[in-house]
Symmetry: C2
Subunit: 432 residues, 2 copies
């Protein structure tokens, strides 16, 4: 009877009734003989409301104070969950990120966890309490300041606690039944995956599936924490993120951790949050491309796909295209404009009417022909491919924004991912 | 140029505009060359909203979690005040009670401050920052749990900080202009006091004036902190609480700290929050009264006035009456009913249609005839006196609830407290 770590997002804690339902679920696990540690997000729209309050007093609030403000959200929800548990006759102790020993670096607004020292948690567990921890927050190692972990932070808190406590499992409760082969709003016949590997989940998260945050999956993989993504609104089994599931062409015997679905492909992800910038007419000399990417790095911009065309022999000029988050578009264009004279490029093109469609599966590693089947499906659906990027277990293409749905559906069908029956689910992102 | 400590209550921080106004006021003091440390309450109705949330999930929430919940209120307001200050081009650092070094005992919901270790505050001051501290909250010395100080807590936080930082003054900002000779809603001609002594202020607070909390005044007296009660909605001088002001019949030379008003009487306070219990027919033997008050003490009930009649010689029975907060009425009646057989009293009477009117002034110590003038004024106004209690600088009477206003007005006039002109103010309580 080990420790179970659970995470509940804002949509699972929207109001008093939701909080009571979560408390009953927590108590059930405690009754079954496990110790329970729960990471919670802020209730429903609390974070948005707090951000509105901040912008009401200052257009550009200091990051330190923004963290101080936002961390009030989990403080409220964790105390309420503890109260609801107490009302069921069990005892609970809530702890802030700082009290729970979530130690971070000191980058306000997007701090990274560098250690977890869960002394107060283990003491409370030892005393028989259920432990509720504020997600999304920590305290900086050097300055002892309150920090927040940024988007998906509570998922990361949960997995980090599971690692520090050597928990049996980290259950991520959300408002959908698990991880699907595609967004069911686009592909009604999408199937829920029973198992998915860490690396597949990483690629899915990186390619636009909002169900689990990248950092949470990375943390889980590094420490080997089984993650179970499931709905707080049902008792159904969700999706278990585990070590690389055995493939049909591998000889290992199936175990409980091994998926029996034998998928070559885990799913089709899509992302409409990126934009594409093309730097036209870059002199094809050593160091020019480096100068461009240095300028973008200095502006703290994370690039995704990068393509450089072969230079036209007559001119010795080349074009460099890359994709980046739309929210960084303006910053990137400004940074590049500043170095135009120095680099001597011709002009900049900006396109945010694009979408990315990604095919992901650990099985594609050993299966030739995946790429041609993928591109064939897109061609049959009349979808034009803009840029291409691949990894060992992923192929991504940039297409026209309006072609994303067609591309996802055609790919999903081409790889036999469609379920026999359509499941009625709503696919949505988790809060923080 | 020393340190100025300020306190702003919830009504001064009701919304974004109010917070910006408070920030401007804080910055003015900083500009004048002082270091500024500010204790803030939760915004407007935040605390009530949080209490509603709690009762929504549990009818009897654990005190520890209630403290965890309520402390989110000041966390929000302090971050917003710091942001608003930053928007004015100054830097501010907000600190929770725990970060600010407000060390308390471990009684959740009504913790007492036992020490203040303001290391982070003095460091922030040294770095040139304005410091904003969450009022009403602290951290327990032994268990390191988050605690709240109970009613009036932020006033107490402010004075405790002023003492620890050896501040020049502790300014308590509220929604009225200061301390008045009576509640202006009852006595429109009530005057604002320019000065009042700690002991007078203590009696006023204990007798129903809600402008400053008792514990705050006690703290101020013990450490000799000048307290300035004033309005956050005007630039007027308020009321300064100082050491005993010189009286006209004393020979000390007037100084800045000495009031020139020469009042024998500081004011008339009233309180409608008490009830009266009479234990009828108590056997007049040694130990019977002690047993009654022991039972009440065991039930954690604070008594105010106590009267025991002379026993009727024929029966050797006596009646014992006392007043207590109405909110404790039910508990007290239950505790007394439980010992009826043991004590052998006849019956219990409960009356919550009473009010207390108190005449307060350090000058009455050396002035005979105050009592007779007070009682004469009440008699002329047709007010019947129920119970009487006195201290060195106070006379209190219990009257019929409906006679309170008449009693206050008659007393105010009899002691020449009426102002020539009526000031337009609203007299209200401070939040917490």
């Amino acid at each position: 009877m080990g420790i179970v770590v659970q995470k509940y997002g804002g949509s699972s804690l929207a109001d008093a009734d939701a909080i009571k339902r979560v408390a009953r679920r927590i108590v059930e696990v405690k009754k079954s003989g496990h110790d329970v540690v729960v990471a919670v997000s802020a209730m429903g729209d609390t974070t948005d409301d707090l951000v509105d309050l901040a912008t009401g007093v200052s257009p550009l609030p200091p990051a330190r104070e923004m963290d101080m403000l936002l961390t009030a959200g989990e403080r409220i929800s964790m105390a309420l969950v503890a109260m609801a548990i107490s009302d069921l006759g069990f005892t609970a102790r809530s702890f802030t990120g700082s009290q729970a020993g979530v130690i971070t670096d000191s980058v306000h607004g997007k701090a990274k966890i560098i250690d977890v020292t869960p002394g107060r948690i283990t003491q409370a567990i030892g005393e028989g309490h259920i432990v509720i921890v504020a997600g999304f927050q920590g305290v900086s190692a050097d300055t002892k300041e309150i920090t927040t972990l940024g988007r998906g932070g509570t998922d990361t808190t949960a997995v980090a606690l599971a690692a520090a406590l050597e928990a049996d499992v980290c259950e991520i409760y959300t408002d959908v039944d698990g991880v699907f082969t595609a967004d069911p709003r686009i592909v009604p016949s999408a199937r829920k995956l029973d198992h998915v590997s860490y690396e597949e989940m990483l690629e899915l998260a990186a390619c636009g599936a909002k169900i689990l945050h990248l950092r949470c999956v990375e943390y889980g993989r590094r420490y080997g924490i089984p993650i179970h993504v499931r709905s707080s609104f049902s008792q159904l089994e969700g999706t278990r993120v585990v070590n690389t599931p055995a493939r049909p062409d591998q000889s290992s015997a199936p175990s409980e951790e091994v998926t029996m679905e034998q998928p070559i492909i885990a799913g089709v992800a899509h992302d409409r949050s990126e934009a594409k910038i093309t730097v036209v007419g870059v002199p094809d000399k050593v160091g020019e491309a480096a100068r461009i990417f240095e300028a973008l790095a200095d502006a703290q911009i994370n690039l995704d796909m990068i393509v450089q065309n072969i230079s036209a022999a007559a001119t010795s000029l080349t074009d460099i295209s890359f994709t980046l988050p739309r929210t960084d578009g303006q910053t990137a264009m400004t940074a590049l404009a500043r170095i135009q004279a120095e680099v001597g490029y011709d002009k900049l093109l900006y396109d945010d009417k694009i979408g990315k469609v990604s095919l992901i599966g650990a099985g594609m590693r050993s299966h030739p022909g995946i790429t041609s089947k993928f591109f064939g499906a897109l061609a049959s659906a009349g979808v034009n491919i803009g840029m291409i990027s691949t990894s060992e277990i992923r192929i991504s293409v940039i297409v026209d924004e309006n072609a994303v749905d067609d591309a996802v559906r055609a790919t999903h069908t081409a790889f036999d991912l469609d379920a026999d029956e359509v499941e009625a689910v709503v696919y949505g992102g988790t809060g923080r």
